[in-house]
């Protein structure tokens, strides 16, 4: 019988339950021991197949694990490391005594999570089977049980020190005792106290961990050991050079603790003050206040203890003036003053370097220094120019240009590719010939690839829609090119099969996409795109020469009014959704020449541009009037319109709705009462503004998020509100576009803005500051309204005020006179809206307000002063309010 047959025989016999696993193992080992090199090579392919098969059966539950482990034992003996590593699974203990594959040690080291237990590892090391890496040794040690006490000499002299050199989960063992695992922190202290390991080495290694890029918690764990060991002053002095290494750490906890130790030993005879002074620049540049504070405290005591280094220490201390925190700047100046260093010209020269970034309150503490006054950048308001020559969209014209456009359209290269797609496909269709049609094949292949690429929830719905529309187009409209049609039909059929399969598995999305021409009633954003795609397919079907009226003429989404008028005059029929998008995207000017022939359409544009009062008798097609009505946001007109076109069950009195009222329940449930929202809710017909429901995960879809925004560039509040309520939206992806299109928006957009000013994500907040900066420059932001909205949001501490105050300090303060004045208006409007009982962070807000008053030379408005007087009753704010009321530093 051949070896492989013997092996198969043993493994398959195991299926008989009378035949025991142990007996099978025994028999198998006997066969394996006899294998020659040649036989091993011969049976390799079969063994690989068997391993694959048994693993599948094991995973599918049709086979227990024993057969899989048996065949893995064979694999262990005959396969290479790479082949065996795909499966693993052998019980090596039975094999290693007589055969150790040459790759076993490498295999053990390369399998990150493979653990054989520390005791067994020590045995294997002694027998030469394994030469473990430090990482693996640390892993095995971390897994030791709490009862482990067999600490051999090699364990104590060598192995346990790997825990200090290689990052493991040793820091988690603090929580492990309840799971029966060894708590290493306590164990190290115990071993040192029992003199089983060197206390000096333990202290030194714990400190050195900070130089090894361990994570914050792991580093903290080793520092806790040091604290538990309570090092003496002599020990700390001996460890000085290592303590200075800790000061170069990237984590603040060890640094703070080390600063405390240094403070303790700074008077010891062998204290190395030079060594510490080398570390000061790095310490004072930290962005964690505690580190800078601790360093300044230490400098303070060092100046006393080492008067010969006084000036040098003073010069070093001035480096903390680079900090943006007012308290740190003040502390630094007070320290210098305390040691009479402000009398030294060298120190004053150093301070002058930082003068540009010093707060008024800090400068007030200094003697009469003449700082060079840096002139504020003079910025004048310049309104945004949406329609320019440099942002005109060039639409592909020749057939080849179109081919290259469509071949890249599924890559998501540009946010207005959807618009061009809808405009261009009917044009491409008209230019097709027998000769050129083959150039389209890569596009069909790409459309199918996109369809097939990733899980549906992770795809861009817009690109997905274009891919499906393109495949649908090919199958439906290219039948005249029989040979080519046959080729591309296969792509369409693969998609249909795929969709049908998914539909069967997920009933909730049945018919969602495959039946392309059937619109669902669900008001999702996707149905707006699909509506546009279906209109496009209809244009191809009827061989129309008309272009969609809503496609942009200028990047990213703007329509030149003359182009809109031309399209409206050329098109025979106007679709309500298309018209609504077009009005949202068109930049009207008061002196534009409205030459629209259709009477009602002309009246709509006139109303949008310059008519002040709605003539309800002109409204024949109400859904076309909606965008103009919302842009005007006039309560009387809205009431008039609503009375005529509202659902029977809804009656609304606009005069009773306070526009801009915020109802705040919790962070995600803050509503802003708005006329526009109320109107849309009550209408008896559909508008695009109702189609704002989104899929659950929009965290990554840059194209979709931005395209959605570009549907409503002049009335974004509906979509902003919907986005805010959608979980996991990444605002970083959408804010650059919002900043780009931000205009003179109505008050209902300011809630969104106020919310993201205090968003949890710092980068998002930074974007908001950019928006504020640009909009201030363009004159498109209402600082008063933004301040009021922020104040009302923070009335009950909607989000930590620190987020907002930090943002002002880092990105909004002192940008230009124009910005400082805007900030003054914002803060003056914000304060009166806040709670009478100051929330956490109010002090910092008032410090900033004081700085703004100093920069602008403006006063405190009466309404703001009233709130400040209320806050002045609180002890911690009393002095600050006093300064504010006088408008200067004391």
């Amino acid at each position: 019988m051949r070896s492989i047959d013997k092996i198969i025989d043993i493994i398959s016999k195991k299926k008989n339950i009378i035949y025991s696993y142990k007996k099978a193992q025994h028999e198998l080992i006997s066969v394996l021991r006899e294998l020659t090199s040649k036989e091993k090579k011969e049976i390799k392919p079969k063994v690989l197949k068997l391993m694959h098969m048994y693993r599948q059966e094991y995973y599918n539950g049709t086979e227990n694990s024993n057969n899989f482990h048996l065949v893995c034992a064979v694999g262990f003996v005959v396969l290479s490391q790479k082949e065996y590593a795909q499966y693993g699974g052998a019980d090596e203990r039975l094999i290693l005594p007589w055969y150790c594959p040459p790759w076993y040690s490498d295999y053990y080291n390369s399998e990150q999570w493979m653990s054989i237990g520390y005791t067994l590892l020590v045995q294997y090391i002694s027998k030469g089977y394994i030469n473990p890496t430090g990482n693996k040794m640390a892993l095995e040690l971390v897994n030791l049980k709490s009862g482990f006490s067999d600490f051999k000499a090699i364990t104590l002299e060598e192995h346990i020190w790997t825990l200090f050199k290689y990052e493991s989960e040793v820091h988690l063992t603090k929580r492990y005792p309840k799971f029966g695992q060894l708590e290493w922190g306590a164990k190290f202290v115990e071993l040192a106290n029992e003199n089983k390991i060197s206390r000096e080495k333990l202290l030194s290694e714990c400190l050195l961990v900070t130089t090894r890029n361990f994570n914050k918690t792991a580093t903290g764990f080793f520092f806790d050991i040091i604290i538990a060991l309570e090092p003496t002053n002599t020990e700390l002095i001996n460890l000085q050079s290592t303590l200075y290494l800790v000061l170069q750490s990237t984590h603040s906890k060890p640094i703070n603790q080390t600063l405390k130790y240094l403070k303790r030993i700074h008077k010891e005879p062998n204290f190395d003050i030079e060594g510490f002074m080398e570390q000061i620049p790095l310490l004072l540049s930290w962005d964690i206040k505690a580190v800078v504070n601790g360093t300044l405290d230490l400098i303070d005591v060092l100046i006393k203890a080492y008067p010969e280094n006084k000036e040098q220490l003073g010069i070093l201390a001035t480096q903390s003036l680079a900090q943006e925190d007012e308290a740190l700047q003040t502390k630094s100046i007070k320290l210098l003053n305390k040691h009479k260093l402000l009398q030294e010209q060298t120190i004053l020269d150093e301070i002058a370097i930082y003068s540009d970034g010093l707060y008024g309150s800090t400068k007030a503490l200094l003697p009469d220094i003449q700082f060079t006054k840096i002139e504020q950048e003079s910025i004048e308001i310049s309104p945004p120019q949406r329609i320019r020559e440099d942002n005109r969209i060039i639409y592909p014209k020749s057939f080849d240009e179109m081919v290259f456009f469509f071949s890249q359209v599924f890559e998501g290269n540009s946010v207005y590719d959807f618009d061009i797609f809808v405009y261009l496909l009917p044009k491409l269709h008209k230019q097709l010939t027998e000769e050129n049609i083959s150039k389209l094949e890569p596009i069909f292949q790409r459309a199918l690839k996109y369809y097939d690429r990733t899980a549906i929830d992770l795809k861009s719905e817009i690109i997905f829609g274009m891919a499906q529309a393109f495949l649908f187009y090919g199958y439906t409209f290219l039948k005249d090119y029989a040979k080519f049609h046959k080729k591309i039909s296969k792509y369409y059929h693969i998609m249909v099969e795929g969709e049908t399969e998914i539909d069967n598995e997920m009933s909730w999305r049945k018919g969602r996409l495959v039946n392309f021409e059937k619109i669902e009633n669900t008001p999702t954003i996707f149905n707006i795109y699909r509506h546009c795609l279906i209109l496009m397919l209809n244009r191809i079907k009827i061989d129309s020469n008309e272009s969609p009226i809503w496609i942009p003429s200028h990047k990213p989404c703007w329509i030149e009014p003359s182009q809109l008028i031309e399209r409206l005059n050329n098109n025979s029929k106007v679709d309500a959704f298309e018209f609504q998008i077009a009005i949202n995207r068109t930049i009207f000017s008061k002196n534009m020449n409205n030459t629209i022939q259709d009477r009602e359409l002309k009246a709509i544009i006139d109303y949008a541009v310059h008519i002040n009062v709605l003539n309800i008798e002109e409204v024949l097609t109400p859904d076309l009037w909606i965008p103009s009505l919302l842009k005007k946001n006039n309560a009387t007109d809205l009431q008039l319109f609503s009375n005529r076109f509202q659902k029977e069950t809804h009656e609304i009195d606009f005069s009773q709705i306070f526009n801009g009222n915020i109802t705040h329940r919790n962070s995600k449930n803050t509503t802003f009462s708005s006329h526009a929202v109320q109107l849309i809710r009550t209408l008896n017909f559909d508008t695009i503004y109702s189609y704002t429901r989104m899929k659950s995960n929009y965290s990554e879809e840059f194209i979709d998020l931005n395209f959605i925004l570009y549907l409503f560039p002049t009335l974004p509040n509906f979509i902003l509100e919907a986005l805010y309520k959608t979980p996991r939206v990444n605002f970083q992806l959408i804010l650059p576009s919002l900043i780009d299109i931000w205009g003179e928006y109505g008050d209902n957009n300011y809630l969104f803005l106020a919310r993201i000013f205090t968003d949890v994500d710092k980068a998002t907040r930074q974007f908001t500051a950019e928006l504020w900066h640009k909009a201030t420059q363009e004159g498109t932001i209402n600082h008063q309204l933004l301040g009021e909205t922020l104040g009302r949001l923070e009335h009950n501490a909607y989000a930590p005020l620190k987020r907002f105050t930090d943002l002002i300090v880092s990105s909004m303060l002192n940008l230009s006179t124009l910005h400082n004045e805007g900030l003054h208006t914002l803060l003056s409007a914000m304060i009166p809206q806040m709670n009478d009982t100051p929330i956490k962070g109010t002090k910092k807000l008032l410090e900033i307000y004081l700085e703004v008053l100093s920069l602008t030379g403006l006063g405190v408005p009466d309404e703001t002063m009233e709130k400040l007087e209320v806050w002045g009753e609180v002890r911690s704010l009393k002095s600050l309010v006093g300064k504010l009321s006088k408008g200067k530093y004391i």
Binding site: D106, D356, P442, D761, H819
Partner: protein, 447 residues
């Protein structure tokens, strides 16, 4: 060669810093895969600014340890930096694991007492113990540097013949051959003082940043901003700049260079006799290895004799003169651009931004590792070999061709120096990462 390949650094000892109260001696073990570069010792001399050099080497170690796209499970042992010694300069170079960050420490002539034993490029062992010990080097102590060692005694004393097996991804070596091309196409953007640099780096946002960042100048100060404005420098994924933070309080001056197409930025920190430079790619997930902006130049074969002759002229760190080269090797000046691209892609050149010139250094890896690095080039050559390029039209400066793709024929049009293709590579990157294999093949066929 596979996408990754195992490299075994065969060091004769483990690098070590020997310190006493007043002096330090750094022994760096060296190893090259090239027998001709595997010399026992390259440099023995003293360094005049030990505190700065040691901090810069720590920062370099942080770069080679860092990664911005690879998961922890994929992380292997650190890839050791390389050092080029010669021409009165010492340059240490290394890449992050993800190949999107390149760092170099240049110790200038004034920064060391000359004691060059040999000239060449070698890998140097950067073990954790040595890096940790570097932190102890103070400003006042004497500092001797040894790259390799002549003394058998020292080698023995430092004990342990040490072997480090690392999986060396192709992209790591490839990046070493590509980054100088980016630097050569960069220009000076801004110079900042120490204070300006510290204030600037404080504006790096914490946490995950998903958008590009820019260096802007506003209201008399520099800051990082997520929004572009006139004159802004595009940085891309910003958190990688944090690698420079420990060096900021020590620097004299910071110069920022930007790539002409915004594909990279270089941050050069000056410390009297030492320059630390950090070059980062446009996005963290786009390392320098994946770009192919010089593939066109590489397509044409260069006579091996020229390469051979060139390598005889080149000495480590010697400035590579594009003016003199054609005379030395007997070629037309017009071919220099292509030749330079080819030589740098073969790992024979580095680039010095301060001098605006290439310098010679031969990477210490087997040529077989380097020559198989460009799959698009290989693909293009294969298309030509299999006769899968059909030229449909070639007149009046316009070329139209059909080139075989996976299951379809792609349309390639080259007109007025601009090439377009219907393949996915071109569709996705629109030529910003070099030509696709189809365009390369057509260009070659119609040449």
């Amino acid at each position: 060669m596979s996408a990754t390949d195992t490299l075994t650094y065969g060091y004769s000892f483990a690098s070590l810093l020997k310190s006493s109260a007043s002096s330090s001696e750094l022994f760096l073990a060296n190893y090259s895969e090239l027998p001709s570069s595997n010399l026992p010792c390259f440099f023995e001399g003293s360094i005049s600014n030990p505190y700065i050099v040691s901090r810069c080497l720590i920062a370099l170690a942080n770069v080679v340890k860092s990664n911005y796209i690879i998961t922890q499970a994929q992380l292997e042992a650190m890839r050791d930096p390389i050092v080029t010694v010669g021409g009165e300069q010492i340059r240490f170079e290394g890449f992050s694991q993800c190949a999107g960050v390149y760092a170099r420490v240049d110790v200038t002539e004034e920064g060391q007492s000359e004691a060059f034993v040999a000239s060449g490029t070698t890998n140097v062992d950067f073990n954790q113990e040595m890096i940790s010990a570097l932190g102890r080097v103070g400003r006042g102590s004497d500092f001797a540097l040894h790259v390799g060692s002549k003394s058998i005694e020292v080698t023995t004393e430092l004990h342990k013949v040490t072997e480090k097996k690392v999986t060396l991804p192709t992209r790591w070596v490839k990046s070493l051959t590509a980054v100088q091309h980016y630097m050569a196409h960069s220009h000076h953007h801004t110079t900042l003082s120490r204070l300006q640099a510290i204030q600037l780096f404080r504006s790096i946002p914490k946490g995950t940043v998903k958008t590009d960042y820019y260096l802007i100048h506003r209201a008399n100060r520099y800051s990082f901003s997520p929004m572009a404005q006139n004159g802004a420098l595009l940085i891309g994924t910003i958190n990688r700049l944090r690698l420079l933070e420990p060096l900021l309080p020590l620097l004299k001056e910071l110069k920022v260079y930007e790539h002409k197409d915004g594909l990279s930025s270089t941050w050069q920190l000056y410390f009297d006799t030492v320059v630390f430079s950090l070059t980062i790619s446009r996005e963290a997930y786009r390392g320098f290895s994946g770009e192919g902006t010089q593939l066109g130049e590489l397509m044409e074969e260069i006579d091996e004799g020229i390469i051979e002759r060139f390598s005889h002229f080149g000495h480590a760190n010697e400035t590579f003169s594009p003016t003199l080269l054609p005379i030395r090797i007997g070629k037309e000046p017009s071919e220099v651009e292509r030749l330079t691209a080819k030589l740098s892609a073969m790992g024979l050149l580095g680039y010095d931004l301060d001098h605006g010139a290439y310098f010679y250094r031969q990477l210490p890896f087997k040529p077989s590792r380097i020559l198989t690095l460009n799959p698009r080039l290989r693909g293009a050559k294969k298309l030509i070999e299999k006769n899968q390029v059909k030229i449909v039209f070639n007149e009046k400066g316009k070329v139209e061709a059909k080139v075989a793709g996976s299951g379809v024929e792609h349309l390639v049009i080259i007109e007025k120096g601009e090439a377009k293709c219907t393949c996915q590579w071109y569709s996705k990157y629109q030529g910003s990462r070099g030509d696709c294999k189809h365009v390369l093949a057509v260009s070659e066929v119609v040449k």
